[in-house]
Protein backbone atom coordinates (compact mmCIF):
# COMPACT_ATOMS: atom_id res chain seq x y z
CA UNK A 1 0.00 0.00 0.00
CA UNK A 2 1.37 3.41 -0.93
CA UNK A 3 1.68 6.04 1.78
CA UNK A 4 -0.97 8.10 -0.05
CA UNK A 5 -3.69 5.51 0.21
CA UNK A 6 -2.64 5.09 3.79
CA UNK A 7 -3.41 8.76 4.40
CA UNK A 8 -6.70 8.45 2.61
CA UNK A 9 -7.60 5.74 4.99
CA UNK A 10 -7.02 7.98 7.99
CA UNK A 11 -8.93 11.01 6.85
CA UNK A 12 -12.66 11.05 7.39
CA UNK A 13 -15.12 13.85 7.93
CA UNK A 14 -14.88 13.18 11.63
CA UNK A 15 -11.13 12.70 11.65
CA UNK A 16 -9.79 15.73 9.85
CA UNK A 17 -6.09 15.84 9.18
CA UNK A 18 -4.77 19.36 9.61
CA UNK A 19 -1.49 20.42 8.20
CA UNK A 20 0.69 22.45 10.53
CA UNK A 21 3.49 24.30 8.83
CA UNK A 22 6.75 24.50 10.70
CA UNK A 23 8.45 27.80 11.30
CA UNK A 24 11.98 27.91 10.00
CA UNK A 25 14.68 29.34 12.27
CA UNK A 26 15.33 31.78 9.43
CA UNK A 27 11.81 33.26 9.56
CA UNK A 28 13.22 36.73 10.17
CA UNK A 29 15.17 36.69 6.89
CA UNK A 30 12.08 36.12 4.79
CA UNK A 31 10.45 39.48 5.35
CA UNK A 32 11.96 42.96 5.35
CA UNK A 33 9.76 44.11 8.22
CA UNK A 34 10.87 41.15 10.34
CA UNK A 35 14.49 41.87 9.50
CA UNK A 36 14.14 45.49 10.59
CA UNK A 37 12.66 44.29 13.86
CA UNK A 38 15.49 41.83 14.51
CA UNK A 39 18.10 44.51 13.76
CA UNK A 40 16.35 46.87 16.18
CA UNK A 41 16.46 44.18 18.86
CA UNK A 42 20.14 43.38 18.19
CA UNK A 43 21.16 47.02 18.55
CA UNK A 44 20.54 46.68 22.29
CA UNK A 45 23.81 44.70 22.37
CA UNK A 46 25.62 47.91 21.49
CA UNK A 47 23.74 49.83 24.15
CA UNK A 48 25.05 47.24 26.60
CA UNK A 49 28.55 47.65 25.13
CA UNK A 50 28.56 51.38 25.95
CA UNK A 51 27.26 50.68 29.44
CA UNK A 52 30.14 48.24 30.06
CA UNK A 53 32.61 50.73 28.62
CA UNK A 54 31.26 53.38 30.97
CA UNK A 55 31.62 51.08 34.00
CA UNK A 56 35.17 50.35 32.94
CA UNK A 57 35.81 54.09 32.74
CA UNK A 58 34.46 54.62 36.26
CA UNK A 59 36.73 51.88 37.52
CA UNK A 60 39.71 53.61 35.89
CA UNK A 61 38.75 56.88 37.59
CA UNK A 62 38.67 55.24 41.00
CA UNK A 63 42.11 53.74 40.41
CA UNK A 64 43.77 57.12 40.06
CA UNK A 65 45.07 59.44 37.33
CA UNK A 66 47.56 56.95 35.86
CA UNK A 67 44.99 54.26 35.34
CA UNK A 68 42.64 56.83 33.84
CA UNK A 69 45.28 58.11 31.43
CA UNK A 70 45.98 54.55 30.38
CA UNK A 71 42.24 53.96 29.80
CA UNK A 72 41.93 57.09 27.71
CA UNK A 73 44.98 56.09 25.73
CA UNK A 74 43.44 52.77 24.98
CA UNK A 75 40.28 54.42 23.65
CA UNK A 76 42.42 56.20 21.04
CA UNK A 77 43.66 52.98 19.47
CA UNK A 78 42.24 52.21 16.01
CA UNK A 79 40.52 49.11 17.36
CA UNK A 80 38.48 51.04 19.91
CA UNK A 81 37.89 53.94 17.56
CA UNK A 82 36.30 51.74 14.91
CA UNK A 83 34.40 49.70 17.50
CA UNK A 84 33.01 52.86 19.04
CA UNK A 85 32.00 54.40 15.73
CA UNK A 86 30.20 51.23 14.68
CA UNK A 87 28.55 50.90 18.10
CA UNK A 88 27.53 54.56 18.02
CA UNK A 89 25.77 54.14 14.68
CA UNK A 90 23.82 51.16 15.99
CA UNK A 91 22.89 53.00 19.17
CA UNK A 92 21.69 55.88 17.02
CA UNK A 93 19.49 53.46 15.06
CA UNK A 94 18.25 52.04 18.36
CA UNK A 95 17.42 55.46 19.76
CA UNK A 96 15.68 56.77 16.67
CA UNK A 97 13.57 53.67 16.06
CA UNK A 98 12.42 53.59 19.69
CA UNK A 99 11.74 57.33 19.80
CA UNK A 100 9.56 56.98 16.73
CA UNK A 101 7.63 54.14 18.37
CA UNK A 102 6.69 56.08 21.52
CA UNK A 103 3.44 57.55 20.14
CA UNK A 104 2.18 54.00 19.62
CA UNK A 105 2.75 53.06 23.24
CA UNK A 106 1.70 56.37 24.79
CA UNK A 107 -1.58 58.08 24.19
CA UNK A 108 -1.30 61.59 25.52
CA UNK A 109 -4.53 63.48 25.84
CA UNK A 110 -4.81 67.17 26.44
CA UNK A 111 -8.35 68.33 27.23
CA UNK A 112 -9.82 65.13 25.82
CA UNK A 113 -8.01 65.43 22.50
CA UNK A 114 -5.26 63.04 21.47
CA UNK A 115 -1.92 64.81 21.02
CA UNK A 116 -0.60 64.18 17.47
CA UNK A 117 2.06 61.47 17.07
CA UNK A 118 4.67 63.89 15.74
CA UNK A 119 4.53 65.94 18.94
CA UNK A 120 4.79 62.90 21.22
CA UNK A 121 7.75 61.53 19.23
CA UNK A 122 9.20 65.01 18.75
CA UNK A 123 9.28 65.72 22.48
CA UNK A 124 11.81 62.86 22.82
CA UNK A 125 14.11 64.59 20.35
CA UNK A 126 13.71 67.91 22.16
CA UNK A 127 14.59 66.25 25.48
CA UNK A 128 17.56 64.56 23.80
CA UNK A 129 18.78 67.92 22.48
CA UNK A 130 18.43 69.62 25.87
CA UNK A 131 20.34 66.85 27.67
CA UNK A 132 23.05 66.91 25.00
CA UNK A 133 23.43 70.69 25.34
CA UNK A 134 23.72 70.41 29.14
CA UNK A 135 26.31 67.63 28.87
CA UNK A 136 28.26 69.59 26.26
CA UNK A 137 28.15 72.67 28.51
CA UNK A 138 29.47 70.72 31.50
CA UNK A 139 32.35 69.35 29.45
CA UNK A 140 33.35 72.54 27.67
CA UNK A 141 33.05 74.67 30.82
CA UNK A 142 36.40 73.51 32.13
CA UNK A 143 38.25 74.21 28.88
Amino acid sequence: MSPMSNLAHHHTAYHPRWYRRRMSVWWWLKDRAYMKFVVRELTSVFVAYFAVLFLWQIRAVTQGPDAYAQFMGRLKTPLFLTANIVAFLFVLYHTITWFNLTPTAMVVRVRGKRVPDTIVAGSNYVAWLIVSVIVAWIFTRGI
Partner: protein, 247 residues
Protein backbone atom coordinates in the same frame (compact mmCIF):
# COMPACT_ATOMS: atom_id res chain seq x y z
CA UNK B 1 -7.01 37.43 -26.81
CA UNK B 2 -7.89 39.01 -23.51
CA UNK B 3 -5.00 39.46 -21.10
CA UNK B 4 -4.65 36.90 -18.35
CA UNK B 5 -2.79 36.60 -15.07
CA UNK B 6 -1.47 33.51 -13.31
CA UNK B 7 -2.39 32.56 -9.74
CA UNK B 8 -0.20 30.13 -7.78
CA UNK B 9 -2.62 28.74 -5.25
CA UNK B 10 -1.90 26.41 -2.35
CA UNK B 11 -3.84 23.17 -2.54
CA UNK B 12 -4.15 20.77 0.32
CA UNK B 13 -6.62 17.93 0.17
CA UNK B 14 -6.11 15.98 3.37
CA UNK B 15 -7.64 12.82 1.91
CA UNK B 16 -5.00 12.63 -0.82
CA UNK B 17 -2.12 15.10 -0.22
CA UNK B 18 0.67 14.48 2.25
CA UNK B 19 1.43 18.20 2.32
CA UNK B 20 0.28 21.43 0.69
CA UNK B 21 1.57 22.24 -2.81
CA UNK B 22 1.05 25.04 -5.32
CA UNK B 23 -1.24 24.70 -8.30
CA UNK B 24 -1.19 27.31 -11.05
CA UNK B 25 -4.33 28.71 -12.65
CA UNK B 26 -4.55 31.16 -15.52
CA UNK B 27 -7.45 33.59 -15.08
CA UNK B 28 -8.61 36.60 -17.13
CA UNK B 29 -7.10 39.85 -15.94
CA UNK B 30 -9.56 42.63 -15.28
CA UNK B 31 -8.78 46.04 -13.80
CA UNK B 32 -11.67 45.89 -11.37
CA UNK B 33 -10.97 42.36 -10.16
CA UNK B 34 -9.60 41.53 -6.74
CA UNK B 35 -7.86 38.27 -5.80
CA UNK B 36 -11.17 36.95 -4.45
CA UNK B 37 -12.81 37.48 -7.87
CA UNK B 38 -10.02 35.47 -9.46
CA UNK B 39 -10.50 32.66 -6.91
CA UNK B 40 -14.23 32.63 -7.59
CA UNK B 41 -13.51 32.49 -11.31
CA UNK B 42 -11.35 29.41 -10.69
CA UNK B 43 -14.05 27.83 -8.55
CA UNK B 44 -16.83 28.55 -11.09
CA UNK B 45 -15.02 27.84 -14.36
CA UNK B 46 -11.79 25.90 -13.84
CA UNK B 47 -11.80 23.78 -10.70
CA UNK B 48 -14.83 23.48 -8.47
CA UNK B 49 -12.84 21.63 -5.84
CA UNK B 50 -10.83 24.69 -4.72
CA UNK B 51 -11.92 25.64 -1.19
CA UNK B 52 -11.74 29.05 0.46
CA UNK B 53 -13.81 31.23 2.78
CA UNK B 54 -15.54 34.45 1.86
CA UNK B 55 -18.82 36.20 2.38
CA UNK B 56 -19.34 39.95 2.15
CA UNK B 57 -16.72 40.74 -0.54
CA UNK B 58 -16.57 44.27 0.88
CA UNK B 59 -14.12 44.20 3.78
CA UNK B 60 -16.70 43.78 6.52
CA UNK B 61 -17.05 40.10 7.41
CA UNK B 62 -13.36 39.34 7.83
CA UNK B 63 -13.54 35.83 6.40
CA UNK B 64 -11.48 36.16 3.21
CA UNK B 65 -8.03 36.70 4.77
CA UNK B 66 -5.16 34.90 2.97
CA UNK B 67 -1.49 35.39 2.30
CA UNK B 68 -1.10 37.23 -1.00
CA UNK B 69 2.50 37.27 -2.19
CA UNK B 70 3.54 36.50 1.37
CA UNK B 71 1.57 39.28 3.09
CA UNK B 72 -1.71 38.81 4.95
CA UNK B 73 -4.52 40.50 3.00
CA UNK B 74 -8.28 40.60 2.72
CA UNK B 75 -8.53 39.04 -0.73
CA UNK B 76 -11.70 41.03 -1.41
CA UNK B 77 -9.63 44.20 -1.10
CA UNK B 78 -6.45 43.06 -2.87
CA UNK B 79 -6.61 44.23 -6.49
CA UNK B 80 -5.00 42.04 -9.13
CA UNK B 81 -3.66 45.19 -10.76
CA UNK B 82 -1.37 45.71 -7.75
CA UNK B 83 0.35 42.39 -8.49
CA UNK B 84 1.12 42.77 -12.19
CA UNK B 85 2.48 41.00 -14.13
CA UNK B 86 1.97 38.08 -11.75
CA UNK B 87 1.96 35.28 -10.89
CA UNK B 88 0.08 36.05 -7.67
CA UNK B 89 0.92 33.68 -4.84
CA UNK B 90 -2.13 32.83 -2.73
CA UNK B 91 -1.67 30.85 0.49
CA UNK B 92 -3.68 30.18 3.64
CA UNK B 93 -3.05 32.52 6.59
CA UNK B 94 0.33 31.97 8.23
CA UNK B 95 0.69 30.14 11.54
CA UNK B 96 -2.79 28.58 11.47
CA UNK B 97 -3.27 24.85 10.89
CA UNK B 98 -4.52 24.23 7.34
CA UNK B 99 -7.77 22.30 7.06
CA UNK B 100 -8.15 22.29 3.28
CA UNK B 101 -6.65 24.42 0.50
CA UNK B 102 -6.97 28.02 1.70
CA UNK B 103 -9.09 27.25 4.75
CA UNK B 104 -7.47 27.36 8.16
CA UNK B 105 -8.68 26.20 11.55
CA UNK B 106 -9.67 29.15 13.74
CA UNK B 107 -10.79 27.28 16.87
CA UNK B 108 -7.75 28.43 18.77
CA UNK B 109 -8.35 32.05 17.82
CA UNK B 110 -11.94 31.87 19.07
CA UNK B 111 -10.74 30.40 22.36
CA UNK B 112 -8.23 33.22 22.80
CA UNK B 113 -10.87 35.85 22.07
CA UNK B 114 -13.16 34.63 24.84
CA UNK B 115 -10.24 34.22 27.22
CA UNK B 116 -9.92 38.01 27.60
CA UNK B 117 -13.60 38.42 28.57
CA UNK B 118 -14.50 40.84 25.80
CA UNK B 119 -17.80 42.08 27.16
CA UNK B 120 -18.86 44.77 29.61
CA UNK B 121 -18.45 43.59 33.19
CA UNK B 122 -19.85 45.59 36.10
CA UNK B 123 -19.64 45.15 39.84
CA UNK B 124 -23.21 46.25 40.10
CA UNK B 125 -25.64 46.13 37.24
CA UNK B 126 -28.18 48.95 37.37
CA UNK B 127 -31.84 48.02 37.31
CA UNK B 128 -33.47 48.69 33.95
CA UNK B 129 -35.54 51.62 35.28
CA UNK B 130 -32.37 53.58 35.86
CA UNK B 131 -31.91 53.84 32.11
CA UNK B 132 -28.93 53.22 29.90
CA UNK B 133 -25.27 53.68 30.76
CA UNK B 134 -24.49 57.05 29.27
CA UNK B 135 -21.22 57.82 27.57
CA UNK B 136 -19.87 61.11 26.24
CA UNK B 137 -18.36 61.33 22.73
CA UNK B 138 -14.94 61.79 24.39
CA UNK B 139 -15.39 58.57 26.39
CA UNK B 140 -16.41 56.75 23.22
CA UNK B 141 -13.40 58.16 21.46
CA UNK B 142 -10.92 56.55 23.87
CA UNK B 143 -11.72 53.01 22.69
CA UNK B 144 -13.55 53.44 19.39
CA UNK B 145 -10.53 52.58 17.25
CA UNK B 146 -10.05 49.26 19.06
CA UNK B 147 -13.70 48.36 18.56
CA UNK B 148 -13.43 48.35 14.76
CA UNK B 149 -11.91 44.86 14.59
CA UNK B 150 -13.60 42.43 12.17
CA UNK B 151 -11.74 39.32 13.45
CA UNK B 152 -10.05 38.74 10.13
CA UNK B 153 -6.91 37.37 11.85
CA UNK B 154 -4.54 39.11 9.45
CA UNK B 155 -2.68 40.43 12.49
CA UNK B 156 -2.11 36.87 13.73
CA UNK B 157 -0.73 35.84 10.36
CA UNK B 158 1.63 38.83 10.51
CA UNK B 159 2.95 38.13 14.00
CA UNK B 160 6.02 35.88 14.37
CA UNK B 161 5.30 35.49 18.10
CA UNK B 162 1.99 33.81 17.21
CA UNK B 163 4.02 31.31 15.17
CA UNK B 164 6.73 30.79 17.76
CA UNK B 165 4.57 30.78 20.88
CA UNK B 166 1.27 28.97 20.25
CA UNK B 167 -0.20 30.04 23.59
CA UNK B 168 0.32 33.77 22.89
CA UNK B 169 -3.12 35.38 23.08
CA UNK B 170 -2.25 37.55 20.10
CA UNK B 171 -2.88 41.05 18.78
CA UNK B 172 -6.64 41.18 18.07
CA UNK B 173 -7.63 39.58 21.39
CA UNK B 174 -5.43 41.95 23.41
CA UNK B 175 -6.72 44.94 21.44
CA UNK B 176 -10.22 43.76 22.25
CA UNK B 177 -9.35 43.47 25.94
CA UNK B 178 -8.01 47.01 25.84
CA UNK B 179 -11.20 48.12 24.08
CA UNK B 180 -13.23 46.98 27.12
CA UNK B 181 -10.67 48.24 29.63
CA UNK B 182 -11.01 51.73 28.19
CA UNK B 183 -14.80 51.62 28.08
CA UNK B 184 -16.18 53.92 30.78
CA UNK B 185 -19.04 51.47 31.43
CA UNK B 186 -16.72 48.55 32.18
CA UNK B 187 -15.20 47.75 35.58
CA UNK B 188 -13.10 44.65 34.93
CA UNK B 189 -9.77 46.11 33.81
CA UNK B 190 -8.10 44.56 36.89
CA UNK B 191 -9.50 41.15 36.08
CA UNK B 192 -8.27 41.30 32.48
CA UNK B 193 -4.89 42.52 33.67
CA UNK B 194 -4.57 39.37 35.76
CA UNK B 195 -5.46 37.20 32.76
CA UNK B 196 -3.04 38.97 30.43
CA UNK B 197 -0.08 39.77 32.68
CA UNK B 198 2.14 36.91 31.60
CA UNK B 199 4.13 35.61 28.68
CA UNK B 200 1.08 34.24 26.94
CA UNK B 201 -0.40 37.70 27.31
CA UNK B 202 0.97 41.21 26.90
CA UNK B 203 4.55 40.35 27.90
CA UNK B 204 4.80 37.84 25.05
CA UNK B 205 4.70 40.75 22.62
CA UNK B 206 8.10 42.05 21.53
CA UNK B 207 6.63 44.92 19.51
CA UNK B 208 7.39 43.72 16.02
CA UNK B 209 4.59 46.05 14.96
CA UNK B 210 3.50 44.15 11.84
CA UNK B 211 -0.01 43.53 13.20
CA UNK B 212 -0.72 47.25 12.97
CA UNK B 213 0.76 47.45 9.47
CA UNK B 214 -1.50 44.74 8.04
CA UNK B 215 -4.75 45.57 9.87
CA UNK B 216 -7.37 46.53 7.26
CA UNK B 217 -9.44 48.40 9.86
CA UNK B 218 -6.66 50.54 11.37
CA UNK B 219 -7.27 49.01 14.77
CA UNK B 220 -3.58 49.38 15.74
CA UNK B 221 -3.30 46.25 17.89
CA UNK B 222 0.42 46.96 18.49
CA UNK B 223 -0.55 50.28 20.06
CA UNK B 224 -3.20 48.60 22.19
CA UNK B 225 -0.69 46.07 23.53
CA UNK B 226 2.00 48.65 24.35
CA UNK B 227 -0.59 50.86 26.06
CA UNK B 228 -1.76 47.84 28.01
CA UNK B 229 1.86 47.15 29.03
CA UNK B 230 2.28 50.74 30.18
CA UNK B 231 -0.82 50.53 32.40
CA UNK B 232 0.34 47.16 33.76
CA UNK B 233 3.80 48.55 34.57
CA UNK B 234 2.40 51.67 36.24
CA UNK B 235 -0.01 49.48 38.17
CA UNK B 236 2.80 47.25 39.42
CA UNK B 237 4.84 50.31 40.38
CA UNK B 238 1.91 51.79 42.26
CA UNK B 239 1.23 48.64 44.25
CA UNK B 240 4.95 48.48 45.03
CA UNK B 241 5.16 52.08 46.23
CA UNK B 242 1.80 52.26 48.00
CA UNK B 243 0.92 48.65 48.81
CA UNK B 244 -1.96 49.75 51.04
CA UNK B 245 -3.49 51.99 48.36
CA UNK B 246 -4.53 49.41 45.78
CA UNK B 247 -7.97 48.01 46.28
Amino acid sequence: MPPTIALDVIRYRPEQDAEPAFQTYEVPFRDDWVVLDALNYIKDRLDGSLSFRWSCRMGVCGSCGMMVNGKPKLTCAAFLSDYLPGPVRVEPLNYFPIMRDLIVDITDFMRKLTKVKPWIIRDQVWPLEEGEYRQTPEQLDTYKQFSQCINCMLCYAACPIVGLEPEFVGPAAIALAQRYNLDSRDEAAGERLKILSDHAGIWGCTFVGECTQVCPKHVDPAGAIQQFKLTAALDALKSFLVPWGTR
